[in-house]
């Protein structure tokens, strides 16, 4: 007896005989809708998926490659079945770029907790300010400490970020995904640029971004600069988050409007799936599946974790309780 034999025995013990009701599945096949309807469904669905792909959510909803290596130890229980919580982090890693070497580490510039309820109707995206001073649990050899939330990623990677957020919020994170600078740029370019309303003239030396007041269409590079822009207004992360949310909302709106054209949709998906790493499971059929469940979703609601200045250092912030807990309770 060898291991394969033991495995086959186990399989035999686990096996069930098909029930008579299996025949119902045959009817599903013979009553399948005519082809045209299916294509229509596919396109609406894809547009919806592509919409959400703009914030890179569905890649993960569709089980992208970067699934969470589950943090060790106790984790919050998954309460509502069918609901999904996806953590999307935007990092400043510029793999392959001359100026930013991987050795310099990467920080999470943007942290979004996206909640998809079981009915996929009212999607909520919660921005977590990177300047939040929080209790970061022990991750590997790095001891627990009070620090800025974005340091969790730098020192402990994705798993530590997930662990930190799960400990803080008691929200179970089902999936997570990392979008780096290049991915973001490519998504915006694939959308054919994104239009935003500039309320305050921008002249930023770091990103060489210059934008006069008014409605402006940004290409990928510009959108990235705008996304990262800190030295504008009062220079706070909170104001930046507002700009990021406006930008994401504009991207989603653009996606919804333009991706109904199959040609553009195809080039968008090609770009999105290239720059946001996905696995083989991320094919059209898989997308269509989720898409159908999301096709009547509205644009996500963007909120920020309620906060107040952090007493020891007014340049940092602390989560305001009990408001923050009340917000997260709704996502559990």
């Amino acid at each position: 007896m060898d291991d394969m034999k033991l495995l086959r025995d186990l399989g035999a013990a686990l096996e069930h005989e098909p029930p008579a009701t299996l025949a119902r599945q045959r009817n599903r096949l013979t009553q399948a809708r005519p082809r045209r309807r299916r294509v229509g469904l596919l396109l609406t669905g894809l547009a919806a998926v592509a919409t959400a792909a703009a914030v890179a959510v569905p890649t993960l909803v569709l089980r992208g490659t970067q699934t969470v290596a589950p943090p060790a130890g106790a984790r919050p229980a998954k309460v509502a079945t069918g609901a999904l919580n996806v953590l999307v982090v935007g990092t400043d890693s510029r793999a392959g770029s001359e100026r930013f070497r991987a050795s310099r580490g990467a920080r999470t510039d943007t942290i979004l907790l996206v909640h998809l309820p079981a009915d996929r109707k009212e999607i909520t995206a919660v921005s977590i300010p990177r300047d939040s001073m929080v209790q970061i649990p022990r991750c590997g050899s790095v001891p627990a400490r009070m620090d800025m939330i974005n340091s969790a990623f730098d020192k402990g990677g994705l798993t530590c970020t997930v662990k930190t957020i799960e400990t803080l919020t008691d929200v179970r994170i089902d999936h997570m995904m990392e979008v780096d600078f290049n991915a973001f740029k490519e998504v915006v370019d694939a959308l054919g640029g994104v239009q935003i309303k500039v309320k305050q003239p921008v002249n930023d030396a770091k990103s060489q971004l210059r934008l006069p007041v008014g409605m402006r269409t940004l290409n990928g590079e510009q959108a990235l600069g705008y996304m990262r822009l800190r030295s504008l207004g009062d220079g706070s992360d909170i104001q930046r988050i507002k700009r990021q949310q406006a930008l994401l909302r504009a991207m989603l709106a653009k996606a919804k409007k333009t991706l109904t054209d199959p040609g553009r949709l195809r080039s968008f998906l090609a770009a999105a799936t290239k720059s946001i790493k996905t696995d083989k499971g991320f094919d059209l059929e898989t997308m269509a599946d989720l898409a159908v469940s999301m096709s009547d979703s509205r644009l996500p609601k963007f909120v920020t974790v309620p906060w107040k200045p952090y007493p020891p250092d007014p340049n940092r912030i602390a989560w305001k309780q009990p408001e923050a807990d009340q917000l997260f309770a709704r996502l559990r």
Binding site: L6, L10, P18, R26, L29, R63, E285
Partner: protein, 194 residues
């Protein structure tokens, strides 16, 4: 290995017939739904199995025009689709294996005379097997189980997963090595007899 009776036409003929007569596709369901059901029931249990089998055929049907008619046997194609669908149920699968860990091992204190040596040995190894399966990376588990539980050959597994046959071999070896390590790298049966 499951072989097809020579009397009936190749699956590929059914698929190509279904391009013009969609009803022909139902014959594929009659041929393979039970086999696919048994396979899913091992990995995910009976509850999701029925729906997944239906889903597999719907996906297959929608892709029937891209079927490579050079392959007479449609099983690898169907198993490939099913594998992708199963991968969305990783939690269910993991929970299923974990449940086996908790289940009491029966007969472990029965008198030796009642024992069917091989059966006891297989049953005693069950928790180790289950935890090894739960711990395997999904890609390795897919390969291992397509071969052990789906009765596919190496070539068919390669075809099902769209990977080179060398990759099938290396994933299988890695999976088996871990399973054997979980079993203590000993052969329980031989140990008992020693």
């Amino acid at each position: 290995m499951i072989t097809q009776p020579a009397t009936r036409g190749a699956d590929a003929d059914l698929v190509s017939a279904s391009w013009t007569q969609p009803e022909a596709f139902a014959e594929l369901f009659d041929r393979y739904s039970a086999m696919l059901y048994r396979y899913v029931s091992k990995r995910l249990g009976p509850e999701p199995a029925e729906d997944l089998v239906g889903e597999t055929f719907l996906v297959a049907f929608s892709r029937r025009r891209s079927y490579d008619l050079a392959y007479a046997d449609a099983r690898p194609w169907l198993f490939g689709i099913l594998t992708k669908l199963i991968s969305r149920h990783r939690r269910t699968e993991a929970a299923r294996y974990r449940a086996l860990l908790r289940a009491p091992v029966e007969d472990s204190v029965d008198s030796p005379a009642d024992r069917v040596a091989a059966g006891v040995s297989a049953q005693a190894a069950r928790p180790e097997l289950a935890s090894a399966l739960a711990a395997l990376p999904a890609k390795d588990r897919d390969v291992l189980l397509l071969i052990a539980w789906g009765d596919l050959t190496y070539e068919e597994t390669a075809q099902a997963l769209g990977i080179p046959i060398g990759t099938v071999r290396s994933r299988l070896n890695r999976g088996r090595r871990k399973v054997r390590a979980a079993l203590g790298d000993t052969n329980p049966l031989l140990d008992e007899e020693a």
